[in-house]
C-alpha cells in the first residue's frame, strides 16, 4: 500500500483519521508557502482532493487538457504546481493573464464555484505533481468517505 499525505491545514486531522503510516511532505513548510492538503492511498484520495479533480475537470480541462497534463492550447498545470506558489496560482485564476498575443487565460473572479475551490484544485494538482496520484478519476478513500457522510 502506498500512502502519501501532504498536509497544510489539516495534517493532524488526516493522520488521526487514518491511523496509518504517513509520509508527511510539508512538515517544514509554513502555511503561507503551501496550503496543499491531500492524502493519496493506492490511487484513492480524500474527499477535498477529489473535489479538486472534479472542479479541474469542469473548469480547467477544456483548455489545460486531461488530468492537468496540458495541451496544444494551454500549459500543463502539474508543472505549474511544481514551479509556482499557491499565491501565484490563485492570482492567475482570479485575474486571468495575457501570456503572449494569442494566448490568454480568462479571469475566474466571478465564478464562485471555482473561487471557493481554489485550495481543492491546488491540492489535486499538487497530488498529481508530488503525491504520486496518477491519471484519471480518483476514487475516495473509503474511511474518509464514511467520515464525510457521518
Amino acid at each position: 500500500m502506498t500512502v502519501i499525505v501532504k498536509a497544510g491545514w489539516a495534517c493532524a486531522f488526516a493522520a488521526g483519521v487514518l491511523g496509518l503510516a504517513v509520509l508527511a511532505g510539508g512538515a517544514a513548510e509554513s502555511l503561507a508557502d503551501d496550503v496543499a492538503d491531500y492524502t493519496v492511498i493506492d490511487g484513492n484520495v480524500d474527499p477535498n482532493t477529489r473535489e479538486g479533480y472534479t472542479v479541474y475537470s469542469r473548469a480547467c480541462m477544456a483548455c489545460h487538457g486531461p488530468d492537468g497534463l496540458g495541451s496544444s492550447f494551454a500549459p500543463s498545470l502539474i508543472q505549474a504546481a511544481e514551479r509556482r506558489s499557491f499565491e501565484e496560482f490563485a492570482q492567475t485564476i482570479a485575474e486571468g493573464r495575457e501570456i503572449q498575443p494569442g494566448q490568454v487565460m480568462p479571469s475566474f473572479a466571478d465564478d464562485l464555484y471555482v473561487m471557493s475551490n481554489l485550495v481543492n484544485v491546488w491540492s489535486y494538482l499538487k497530488a498529481r505533481a508530488d503525491g504520486g496520484l496518477g491519471r484519471g478519476r480518483p476514487g475516495i478513500i473509503e474511511d474518509m468517505q464514511e467520515d464525510e457522510e457521518s
Binding site: 490511487g43 486531461p66 494569442g102
Partner: protein
C-alpha cells in the same frame, strides 16, 4: 454637389452589377478544373479534382517546392484558395491574418491583412482559436473573424471593403466556420455551443455587408424561418408549430446552442443550401429534459435545407433528438448523385459525428441509409428507418444512467467518430473518403448554471482509444482513413493511424486520395485499394485540408499544417489505458511526443522534367 452624388450612385451601380452574378462567378471558377475556388472544392462539397498530372505513377516523385510560415501558433484548419490569378490566398487562426502569396515567387507576400481584435475572445473559443478559411467571389475575399466580424477584402489589394458584426463574444459567441457565397449573399454560421448561445445562420449582401436574412436553430418558427405546413421532415410536413420552443423545458431554447459552425454546401439546380446544427446547449441532458423525460430539443443536431434567397427551410432532418453525448451534428453534407436499385437519386451523404454514415434524399430530406462506419459505435444499436430516429442503448445513455453518474465506455467520444475534417467524394469510384476518430469515452453529466459569456457545459468526460473489433487493426490506434460506400453503407477499405485523422481529404482523377495526420505527415494512397504510395513530414500536425490546383501547366498540392483544435487539446498528453486502472501512466501515444505548434503552408509539385 449634385454631380458628385450622381457619379457616386453610378459607381455603386457598376459595382452592384457583377455582384448580383456572384453565384455565376463562383460557378465559373468551380467549373475550371485548374482552380480550387471554395474550401470544399465545389459547391457540392466533393473535395475532388479532375487534375491528373500527379497520379499513381508519378506521385512517388512529388516533392515540396516551398514552405511558408504563417507566424501563428495554434491549430490551422481550412486550406488555401486558388482562383487563377497566380496567388494563393491563405488565412490563419486568431489573429486571423490573411495572406496573398505569389505562386511564381515561392510564396512572396503580395499583401497581408491582420484585423485588430479583442484578445478576450480567445478564452471563449472552446476548442482552440481555429478558423476554417476564406471564401472568394468576384474579386473579393470573405472572412469570419474570431470576434464575430464578417469582412470583405479586395483580393487584388487586401483593402478592407466592408465589415459587419455577426455576434457578441462577451456572450460566448465566436466565429470559426468558413463562409460560402451563394448568389449575391455571403452565408455565415456561428460558434459557441459550449457557452449557451442560440445558434443561427445569416446571409449578408456580398457587396454591402447588409444583413439579408437570419434563421435561428431554436425558437419559434418565424425566427427559425420554418413553416410547419410546408417544411418537410422525413418527407412529410412538420405539422406541429413552434417545435423549436415546445421540445425544450421552459426557456431553455434561448440558450439551446445548435451552432452551425461546420461547412455549408449548395445545390445550384435545386437552389438549396445545406448545413448541420450543433449540440443543443448544455451537455447535461437532465437540464434539457421535460419532466425528466427525454425531449427532442429541436432543432439541435439537425440537417437544414434552406432557400438561400430567403432563408426559408425546405426540409429538416434531426440526426440526434435529445443529445446525451455532445454529438454536435455540424458534419458537412456532401451532395452526391447515386443510383439505388437502378434509380437515380439526388443524394446527400454524411460521415457523421455519431459514427453513422447517412444517405438522405436531398430533395425531400428522407433518410435512405444509416449504417455504422465506425463499428465500435454503441450509443445506438441502429436507426429506425421509418421514423428516422436512433434506437439508443440504455447502457450508454447518460440520461438513463443519471446526473453525477459516470457512464462508461461509450463509443464514439464527444469528439465524434468524425469531427469537422471534411470528407472527399470521388465520382470515379462513387466512394466517400474520410479521416475518422477511433476514440471512446466515459461521460458524467452535472448540473450547471447559465451565466452569459461563461462556459455552459455540464459534463466531464475522459477518453480512451476504441477497442479493436475481432483483434483486427492497429493496437491503440485512435484514427483511420476510410473509403466508404454511401449506398451500401459499408467500408471498402481502411487504414489505421496512430492518432485521429483530423485533416480534410482530397481525391483526384490521378487515382489518388490524400490526407494528413496529426503527427504531420501528408500521405497519398491508391484510391482503389488504399495502398500507401507517398508521404512527406510537414513541420507540425495537420488539421487543415489538402487542396490541389494547376498553374502554368503545373499541378500543385498544398496544405496548411499546425497542430491544435480539439484534437490537440485532447490528445496532446495521450489517452488513458482503460484497462490499466487508477494511477497508471498513459500507455497510449501522446501527440506531444510527435509534434509541436506552428503554422506552415507547404506547396508540392513534381520536378520539372
Amino acid at each position: 454637389m449634385l454631380r458628385v452624388s450622381t457619379y457616386a450612385i453610378a459607381a455603386v451601380g457598376l459595382l452592384a452589377a457583377p455582384m448580383a452574378q456572384a453565384n455565376e462567378n463562383v460557378l465559373e471558377l468551380i467549373d475550371n478544373p485548374e482552380l480550387w475556388a471554395t474550401q470544399l472544392g465545389n459547391y457540392q462539397g466533393h473535395r475532388y479534382s479532375q487534375l491528373d498530372q500527379i497520379n499513381r505513377d508519378t506521385v512517388g516523385d512529388l516533392r515540396a517546392e516551398w514552405q511558408f510560415s504563417t507566424g501563428v501558433l495554434r491549430g490551422h484548419e481550412g486550406g488555401p484558395l486558388y482562383v487563377g490569378d497566380g496567388r494563393l490566398y491563405i488565412h490563419t487562426p486568431f489573429p486571423n491574418k490573411v495572406f496573398a502569396l505569389d505562386i511564381e515567387d515561392q510564396g512572396r507576400i503580395i499583401w497581408s491583412y491582420e484585423p485588430d481584435q479583442d484578445s478576450r475572445v480567445i478564452p471563449v473559443m472552446c476548442c482552440d482559436t481555429v478558423n476554417r478559411g476564406l471564401a472568394y467571389a468576384d474579386g473579393r475575399l470573405f472572412l469570419n473573424q474570431a470576434d464575430n466580424t464578417v469582412i470583405a477584402l479586395d483580393a487584388e489589394s487586401g483593402e478592407l471593403l466592408w465589415s459587419v458584426s455577426n455576434g457578441d463574444h462577451t456572450q460566448g459567441e465566436t466565429m470559426t466556420m468558413s463562409p460560402l457565397v451563394v448568389h449575391d449573399k455571403v452565408i455565415v454560421g456561428i460558434s459557441g455551443g459550449e457557452f449557451g448561445i442560440r445558434g443561427h445562420i445569416t446571409a449578408y449582401n456580398a457587396e454591402t455587408g447588409d444583413m439579408e436574412w437570419r434563421g435561428y436553430s431554436t425558437g419559434p418558427d418565424d425566427e427559425v424561418l420554418l413553416d410547419p405546413e410546408t417544411t418537410l421532415m422525413m418527407g412529410e410536413p412538420v405539422g406541429e408549430a413552434d417545435l423549436g420552443v415546445s421540445t425544450w423545458p421552459e426557456g431553455e431554447w434561448e440558450r439551446g446552442g445548435g451552432a452551425p459552425w461546420g461547412w455549408v454546401t449548395y445545390d445550384p439546380e435545386l437552389d438549396l443550401i445545406y448545413y448541420g446544427t450543433g449540440n443543443p446547449g448544455t451537455w447535461n441532458p437532465e437540464q434539457r429534459a421535460i419532466d425528466g423525460e427525454p425531449a427532442d430539443n429541436k432543432w439541435g443536431i439537425t440537417v437544414f435545407a434552406r432557400d438561400p434567397n430567403t432563408g426559408e427551410t425546405k426540409w429538416v432532418y434531426q440526426k440526434v433528438p435529445f443529445d446525451e453525448w455532445d454529438y454536435d451534428g455540424i458534419n458537412e453534407n456532401q451532395l452526391i448523385d447515386v443510383e439505388i436499385d437502378g434509380e437515380e437519386v439526388k443524394g446527400l451523404g454524411i460521415i457523421d459525428r455519431t459514427g453513422f454514415g447517412f444517405l438522405l434524399d436531398r430533395e425531400t430530406g428522407e433518410l435512405l441509409v444509416a449504417e455504422k462506419f465506425a463499428p465500435e459505435t454503441n450509443w445506438a444499436t441502429h436507426y429506425d428507418m421509418e421514423t428516422g430516429r436512433p434506437v439508443v442503448d440504455e447502457d450508454y445513455s447518460p440520461h438513463t444512467q443519471g446526473v453525477d453518474v459516470n457512464t462508461t465506455d461509450i463509443c464514439p467520444t464527444a469528439m465524434g467518430a468524425k469531427n469537422m475534417q471534411p470528407t472527399s467524394y470521388s465520382p470515379d469510384t462513387g466512394l466517400i473518403y474520410a479521416g475518422i476518430n477511433r476514440i471512446c469515452m466515459n461521460y458524467e453529466p452535472h448540473e450547471v448554471e447559465y451565466v452569459a459569456g461563461q462556459p455552459y457545459v455540464g459534463a466531464t468526460l475522459t477518453m480512451m482509444p476504441a477497442p479493436l473489433e475481432n483483434d483486427e487493426g492497429m493496437e491503440g490506434r485512435m484514427g483511420s482513413f476510410i473509403a466508404w460506400d454511401p449506398v451500401k453503407g459499408e467500408t471498402v477499405w481502411e487504414i489505421d493511424e496512430r492518432f485521429a485523422v483530423w485533416s480534410g481529404a482530397l481525391t483526384t482523377a490521378g487515382d489518388l486520395a490524400f490526407y494528413g495526420t496529426l503527427e504531420g505527415h501528408i500521405k497519398a494512397v491508391d484510391i482503389e485499394t488504399g495502398e500507401h504510395l507517398w508521404q512527406f513530414k510537414t513541420p507540425s500536425g495537420i488539421i487543415g485540408n489538402v487542396n490541389t490546383f494547376q498553374h502554368e501547366g503545373k499541378q500543385y498540392i498544398a496544405v496548411l499544417s499546425g497542430v491544435g483544435g480539439w484534437a490537440g487539446i485532447g490528445l496532446a498528453a495521450g489517452l488513458e489505458d482503460p484497462e490499466a486502472g487508477l494511477g497508471a501512466v498513459g500507455v497510449f501515444a501522446a501527440l506531444q511526443d510527435y509534434t509541436e505548434l506552428g503554422g506552415v503552408l507547404t506547396v508540392f509539385a513534381l520536378p520539372d522534367s
